[in-house]
């Protein structure tokens, strides 16, 4: 990357002309034109599968377009790889995992550049770790040690390392692809500071998010994509949530977004509970009950223990003390949990909730085998297809057909597949960890309405989320966790304010 670049605000830095990209039968980008100027934070917004990640990943060297032209700093731009693109000035923080689990944080940060720490063929680990720690601290990450193995970190920490890895190279253009959904408020603040600095230094940022409030706050201009086409570009002064939503989905959103009632009542029967549950290092002495027909929200900062709590309710972590019960019976493990009709949606979707190399059908059908098999043994194809089609239709999963491999779906559609897996099999209790992460606004609305319907049917829904509006909008009861303990409980009320809740989170 040239160091002697003159950075004048408003200069054209990246120009994409007539870009087309297809994935098999699906046109992801259709003759798209896009311009990015220095000092600009350009937001890309659109429904799942609209082409946001495709266009940015092509600019960042992750894949090639079928046709079209790119110019970066006035010259033709055709990076050979992401590393090549990053070295030359365009860096991207990807939507899901962009790090390698089996090596240290430091080795991840300096991946491909470890030679600078090499002497006579040996890596100077002390220097490597010191430099990596410096990189982390420079952007405000102070709770991760660079000598740790990447796979031992949680999802948010891995994402923060990835941010540090890209920022270290100081690219002229930074692409942030739905990264904030993986981050807590603190993690988001770190990223927002970087974006602010980029604007002030007259570099440029492409910011992809489904959070309309966030994208309107962070970005200077906003381009809306739908079905691989650019629909409209909004300048800051033109930002209007209704107009943006209309451009995104091509129709008005009808009905309630969250639920409209403020009635926190639910059934009497306790369906799932934790008694004095402790997982050392994560949560301590948790007592919690959820009832039939109740939506129980659990919120807090990312490391407050709520994600572990979700796993504990599914028997997926070993409790050091206490117990988890479903209808009065001890939850021994995940197998027992699924037998008792508990469904669990993990926050780490690609690693824990999906088999990426399998089809939409395989992923949805796996939890419902008991429903469409004969004699608990023989799988009936016709019934299976019917079962899967029902989920694809009701959740509006965008796929060419049910045999499409899940890893070729957009992030939000992947999430819908996970949802379909657990809803289709008739789960009575749903433990949903960040259920709408990476899901577009139209589908979010549909999911919220579905959750409300499931509540009315008497199901128990536990929503663990870092999105306060989502928790406030949907929960009958909201539990706020802090430092591994329950800090406060709120009942659904019109008067509930986020300021009051945040006070118990931090």
């Amino acid at each position: 990357m040239p160091n002697s670049i003159t950075r004048n605000k408003g200069d054209l830095i990246l120009e994409i002309t007539n870009m087309t990209k297809t994935f098999g039968p699906v046109t992801a980008l259709n003759n798209v034109d896009l311009k990015l100027y220095r000092g600009d934070v350009l937001g890309l917004i659109g429904e799942n599968g609209s082409g946001k990640s495709t266009i940015s990943s092509i600019a960042a060297g992750m894949q090639k377009a079928d046709s079209g032209e790119m110019k970066y700093l006035g010259e033709n731009w055709a990076p050979k790889s992401m590393i090549d693109a990053l070295d030359k000035g365009i860096g991207m923080i990807v939507q899901e995992s962009g790090t390698i689990a089996g090596i240290s944080v430091a080795e991840n940060i300096f991946l491909g550049n470890l030679n600078q720490f090499s002497k006579y063929g040996f890596i100077n680990k002390k220097e490597l770790h010191a430099r990596a720690n410096e990189v982390l601290r420079n952007i405000g990450i102070d709770n991760i040690d660079s000598s740790m193995i990447m796979g031992a970190l949680d999802f948010q920490s891995r994402k923060l390392v990835e941010i540090a890895k890209v920022i270290m190279k100081e690219p002229e253009i930074l692409i942030v692809d739905e990264t904030t959904t993986a981050l807590s408020q603190k993690g988001r603040e770190i990223l927002y500071k970087v974006v602010k600095r980029y604007r002030e230094e007259n570099r440029a940022v492409i910011f992809i998010s489904h959070d309309l409030d966030e994208i309107m706050e962070v970005c200077d201009t906003l381009t809306v994509l739908r079905d691989g086409n650019i629909i409209r570009t909004f300048k800051k002064e033109e930002f209007d949530p209704d107009q943006i939503r209309l451009s995104m989905i091509g129709r008005e959103l009808e009905g309630d977004y969250y639920r409209s009632d403020y009635d926190p009542t639910h059934g009497e029967k306790v369906t799932i509970e934790l008694k004095n549950a402790t997982v050392k290092g994560h949560m301590y002495g948790i007592n919690l009950e959820a009832h039939e027909g109740e939506i129980l929200g659990i919120g807090g900062l990312s490391h407050c223990g709520m994600h572990t709590l979700g796993k504990a309710l599914f028997g997926a972590v070993k409790l050091d003390d206490g117990e988890a019960l479903v209808n009065g019976e001890k939850i021994k493990n995940e197998i027992f949990a699924t037998k008792k009709k508990i469904g669990y949606v993990s926050k780490d979707r690609d690693n824990e909730s999906l088999v990426l190399s399998a089809s939409v059908k395989d992923n949805i059908a796996i939890a419902g085998l008991d429903i469409f098999s004969i004699g608990n043994f023989l799988v009936l194809y016709s019934k299976e297809n019917e079962y899967v089609k029902k989920q694809i239709d009701s959740l509006l999963i965008k796929c060419s057909d049910s045999s499409q491999v899940v890893q070729t779906l957009s992030g939000g559609n992947k999430q819908k597949v996970v949802f379909g897996k657990w809803i289709g099999c008739g789960s009575e209790i749903l433990v949903l960890d960040c259920p709408t992460r990476g899901v577009d606004i139209g589908v979010k609305q549909a999911m919220y309405q579905l959750l409300y319907r499931l509540k009315k049917e008497g199901k128990t829904i536990i929503i663990i989320s870092e999105e306060l509006p989502e928790l406030m909008g949907m929960s009958d009861r909201l539990i706020i966790m802090k430092d591994g303990k329950i800090n406060k409980e709120f009942l659904r009320s019109k008067d509930l304010s986020d300021a009051e809740i945040i006070g118990y989170m931090i």
């Binding site: 699906v26 995940e334 197998i335 088999v355 043994f377």
Partner: protein, 342 residues
């Protein structure tokens, strides 16, 4: 609600056509290899029928073992002890057959011993929380040593090598089974049974899902140890049938019997289109197609290099290895191209 499609389907679906070509590629390769093999046999004045019979014998054992082993490979696991297990079960089966003269016992004992050894792999891995590959390395050493001990103590020496040979009356008894018809029927029944389990039962579905992502399978309520045990039991069944048939057509077991089958199975199923990481795209027919393709290819290479007597074996192995790497590379390109953001 109406199903949402990303775009209207074009008249000619290139994506599906490409998928079909990729699926059919191993079969196409087998057909081409077979045609080439016949031509080469013809050109070199070899007895075609005799060579085809020999090909069936070679491939029968490999395909039987590989078909069962698909269940292990589907889990993303690898069993290096398959050959040693085949040898050990063949030794025990032969000894029992020699002692009783019962063909049924020969088959039953071979299968029981093979399934038992295979299960031991899975149980040790499960109890001690070891990677299954590690336990199969230990099992390879133990079974090879036991089989060698039995062959040396119970068999007869010929020069420096030992073998257990069947007396002529017992060989004659096996003659009805040593026919192409019986072998094809046995192979057909076994493959159909495995295809049924793999594709039409909950067991097969869960195996594939588990092979695709162990963590996700666990969080979907699938028991990793149970399905590991089932996979090894089914692999043991294939090994048992393979070792029985080895005795049927070879009438003898020596320390080199089935020695290289562990590696051959792996190469063969990859030849047949099996993803090397296992998972959802695993197919039983990979064993059938790959088993025959692999043997045809090595036979062709042996004929082509027949003049290089001293270096022939090594050369064939090197070329097989290069082919194997090439196939894995091509398969991985296809995999990587699917792993892109949308």
């Amino acid at each position: 609600m109406e199903q949402v499609m990303e775009n209207k389907k074009p008249k000619f679906d290139k994506y599906k056509a490409k998928k079909l070509v990729i699926t059919l590629l191993p079969l196409l390769a087998l057909i081409l290899l077979f045609v080439f093999y016949i031509i080469i046999l013809n050109v070199n004045d070899y007895n075609i029928m005799m060579n085809l019979r020999s090909l069936l014998n070679q491939s029968l054992i490999l395909v039987l073992v590989a078909t069962g082993a698909i269940f292990i490979f589907t889990l993303g696991q690898f069993d290096i002890s398959l050959g040693a297990n085949a040898l050990f079960s063949a030794v025990i089966g032969t000894l029992v057959y020699k002692a009783t003269g019962s063909i049924a016992l020969l088959f039953i004992i071979c299968i029981l011993v093979a399934v038992g050894c295979s299960l031991l792999n899975a149980l040790i891995a499960s109890v001690f929380h070891l990677p299954m590959f590690v336990t199969t390395i230990a099992m390879l050493s133990v079974l090879t040593a036991l089989a060698t001990f039995l062959i040396q103590s119970q068999g007869s020496a010929s020069g420096t090598s030992y073998s257990i040979n069947l007396p002529s009356e017992l060989v004659d008894k096996l003659a009805p089974l040593d026919t192409p018809i019986f072998k094809i029927i046995l192979l057909g029944i076994f493959i159909l049974a495995m295809v049924f389990i793999f594709n039409f039962t909950k067991v097969g579905r869960k195996q594939k899902f588990l092979g695709g992502n162990e963590k996700c399978a666990k969080l979907t309520g699938i028991s990793i140890s149970l399905f590991g045990i089932i996979a090894f039991a089914l692999a043991g069944l294939g090994v048992g049938l393979g070792s029985s048939m080895t005795v049927v057509y070879a009438h003898t077991v020596s320390t080199t019997t089935a020695s290289s089958i562990g590696m051959s199975v792996f190469i063969a199923i990859v030849f047949g289109g099996m993803p090397i990481n296992g998972g959802a795209r695993s197919r039983i027919y990979s064993a059938l197609i790959g088993g025959f393709s692999y043997n045809i290819m090595t036979n062709i290479l042996f004929i082509l290099f027949q003049s290089m007597e001293g270096a022939r074996d090594g050369l064939v192995q090197v070329i097989s290895g290069v082919f194997f790497l090439a196939i894995v590379f091509v398969a991985s390109i296809n995999y990587r191209s699917k792993n892109l953001p949308r």
